[in-house]
Every structure is written in structure tokens, then in C-alpha cells.
Symmetry: C2
Amino acid sequence: MAFRDRIAACHTWRPEDYRPFLLAGDARPLGWINRTFASRLNDFPDVFEVTDQAVTLPARYGDFDSRSAALQKVLQNLHLAGEIPKWRGEDYGISRRWGTAPLFRMERGAVPLFGVLAFGVHVNGFVRSPKGLKLWVGKRAKNKSVAPGKLDHLVAGGQPYGLGLMENGIKEAGEEAGVPPDLAATARPVGAIRYICARPEGLRNDVAFCFDLELPADFEPEPDGEEVESFTLWPVAEVLDRIRATDDFKFNVALVNLHFALRHGLLTPDAEPEYQAIVEGFSISGV
Amino acid sequence: MAFRDRIAACHTWRPEDYRPFLLAGDARPLGWINRTFASRLNDFPDVFEVTDQAVTLPARYGDFDSRSAALQKVLQNLHLAGEIPKWRGEDYGISRRWGTAPLFRMERGAVPLFGVLAFGVHVNGFVRSPKGLKLWVGKRAKNKSVAPGKLDHLVAGGQPYGLGLMENGIKEAGEEAGVPPDLAATARPVGAIRYICARPEGLRNDVAFCFDLELPADFEPEPDGEEVESFTLWPVAEVLDRIRATDDFKFNVALVNLHFALRHGLLTPDAEPEYQAIVEGFSISGV
């Protein structure tokens, strides 16, 4: 087993298995839809133009509100038919790139079916100790729809429409790990990773924003008992050993933890032959 | 002007302007050679098979020593003809990826002509101050062959064959900036960036390994007066302003400084609309 296996597991997108999802008049793919779901969208000719080449939202849906409303109508229909694996009752803002205005909003549970860009907040809670850095490792509840029972960060969450990233991180830190807002607000943004990954829930086309939260030695996170089963403090070397040898960490959490290890000099290019492969694994092209 | 301009300036490779440089029997391009230089290599049919599709080193050069010797003979010939822009008298080890054994060694001045992978060490010297982080900024001598007069890190250097990265960084830190070896040895590896860039010297196909070196407030680097004209301590915000507004920083130094700013939370995704573009600029595909 190698770090490379964990990286490859986050980059499993094969473009030939998908059709681009387009806004009329713009050739740049906004998302990627698999054949089965494209055929199903063919049942909604008022909203989608489905061909063998692409799925297109017509020009008459020309602004945020009309696009959002048209999509919502279809998605609720599919939801009632039991065809959205997990309805969240929470919207994501959908754009081509972070920092540009969302083109529409969309129920979170449908986002991987359209393979549109999604943003997430990943907060690594770490503690300095005389023996080096330690990471708080969460264990996801066994009944989670995504990656049940897998190992996780202190805090992570998808980015809902209308919240700031830090705002979302602080909210999730309180809900999932009992981190007081003042402490959570000291989290520092430290970069992002990018992957497109075919998963049971659909195509994850994600920017994962990474944050470091330094915690006092006497702080203990509190699992909420629903999303998170437990938290344990691990030496980073043990985290890395587990990532190299198993897929116990959630697929994207393994990548974000490698990002943490590199930034803190816990893997070094002189000693780690996979260093370049790891770096390239933080972006889409590298693999 | 935008950070995006600096990023685009590091990703100017257009594959259609180059032919792959191959080892016989392996279809994976090892480098990229432009038309003019490919035609010139046609003058050495003992060593290169030149076609419209590729430049290939034949199978009879089957190991490190025979490849290195064959290339050296051609390159010295071109050097004597005045056709290697800057002969360095120093070899790089050439491989497909960091962490794999070099396939041959090659005079540094010829590396961009073959567009093969090169490694570099980029050391940012920084100081913590009550007003935030500051960076030591070097000014390159006006007679440097690459990027004369441009702004630079505390220390940076190409990676010669047979040295470790830290070993090279410590050596360069002493030579270029008068950093004592004990202090230079505290530099911490913090990641790497990747770009393929068409430059006056040829095609730069680089992995730039980034290091952070925290310096005491009373330390002053000493310019060697040959490679480096001067060093000045800048607040990081001023470095970022200068990068956004001008191309005063050397092309790849701008990217490494953006990497520093992101890792230290000096640019934040909530406030910086170019955040994703910057992250994607650290890898080849992103642009």
C-alpha cells in the first residue's frame, strides 16, 4: 500500500462516462452527468435539452432565480419518486469557480448527480506536544450516508448557499465537536485541494478548503453522538501510517491530512519518494 | 492587474509547439523539444532519431552512463558552436518524477532545451514581528542570465545531480545570503509547486520545492554581490501588492510567495476571489 493509492482513490473521474452539463450559449461544462441520470432528465423536456453529447439548461432560464426554480421543480419531483439518494433540505450555490457569483442554487443531495462544483470546509484540529504535532481524529457515525464509520477531521462540512466559509466552519465546529465559537474563530485558512471523484453518491467535483485550528492541550472535543461517534488524539506519524496502509480515513480526509503533513514538514522531499505524487494529488491533473 | 496574470505567466507551455523527447520503447514523454532545436539535433543521427513526431534516444543507450555520455558528447559539440545559451558546468539528474532514480545526467544549461523535468529549492526567509510576518526579498544581480534585476527569495537554486535538497539549500544559503549552516538547517519543507513555462532560456518543466526558514529579528542576510545585489525585509502584504500589480518578482518566485501567503493564512478564501485560481496555479492543469 502507498500514499498513491489514497490519491488515486480521489481521482477516479473518467470523462467518457459522463456528458457535460451546460448552460445554453456557453460551451464550458458546468458539471458532468452520467448516462442513466441524463436519460432520466430526458423526462423533463421543459427544463433540459438532453442529447447524446450534452445536457443543456435552455436560454430561457437566464438568471439565478429562474434557473434555481426550474431545477428545484425537477428535483422535488425526483425526490418524491425516491430518486435522490439523500435529500438534505439544504442548498449549495453553484458557480464555475470559487469567488464568482453563483449561477443558481441546488439541493445538496442532487449536486453529485449533476457533477457541479461543490465547496467544503475541512478543519484539522491539532495540538503541539513535546513529542511533536498531534491531530484530533473523528470517527464518523455508522449510519452516515457518506463514508460511514470512516476516520475524519475534527470538523468538516459542505458549504451551504449564503454562508461564509469561516462562518460555516465555526457553526459546524460547535455542532459536531463542541468547539466554542471564540476558539473555532482562530482557525487559519491554509490552502485548498481539488479533486473529481466518482463515488456511490455521484460525482464529487470538489474544492476542499483546508483550515488549521491549533487547540490547547487540555481541550477535548465533544462528539455530537449523531454525526461523530468519538474523537481521539493521534500523533501525526500514526495518522500517516494509517493512511499509507489502509483506507480507514474518508477518501478526501486522507488527502487533506497529507496536505497538513506536507505543510508542517512532517513529510520531507529528501526522505519521501512519493512527495511529488502527493503534491500532484492535490490538483486534478496530477494523476 | 491580478494574481491570475502572474499565474498565467508561469503556465505558458503550448504542447503543439514542441515534440516529445522519448527514450526508445517508452511512449511517455520525458521532455519537450521545440522545432528549431529538434532540427539541430538531426545533425547528430548517431545519438537522436528525429522525426516530425518525436525526438528519440535509441535503445542502444540503455543505461545511465551510456545515455549521459552520448548526450554530453552532443552538448559539448553544441557548446563549442556557441549554441547552448549559458553553459553552467554543472549537471542535473534527469528523471520522470521526483523520487525515482535519474535516467541520465545532463548539463544544466541544456535542460530547458530538452524540456525535461528539473527540480529547484526555494527558501523563503521570514521574520515574525508584532505587525505580522515579513519576508526577506532579494534583488537579483543585473547580469544574471535568467531574470536579471528581478525580485527573489532569500535563497533559491537549481538542484544539481548527487546532492540532497536540504544539502543544496544549506549550501546555497551560505553562498548567496551568508546564512550560517546551523540556521539554514532549520528550514522546513512545506510543499512544492509545478509549472511548465516557455522562457527565453527554453522550456522550464519544474518542480519547485518550497521551504520556510524562520529567522531571528536581528539576523541580516549578506548579499554575495554577484548573484544577489541586495536584501530588504518586506511586510508580506507589500510583497502581495507588488505581485498583484507588477511582474517585478521573478516568474516562479511570485508563485512560491503566493504559496507562502496561502499557507500562513495571509490570503483567505472568504476575502480573496482569486483563491481557487491561485491554488490551481500551483499545478499544471489548473490554468
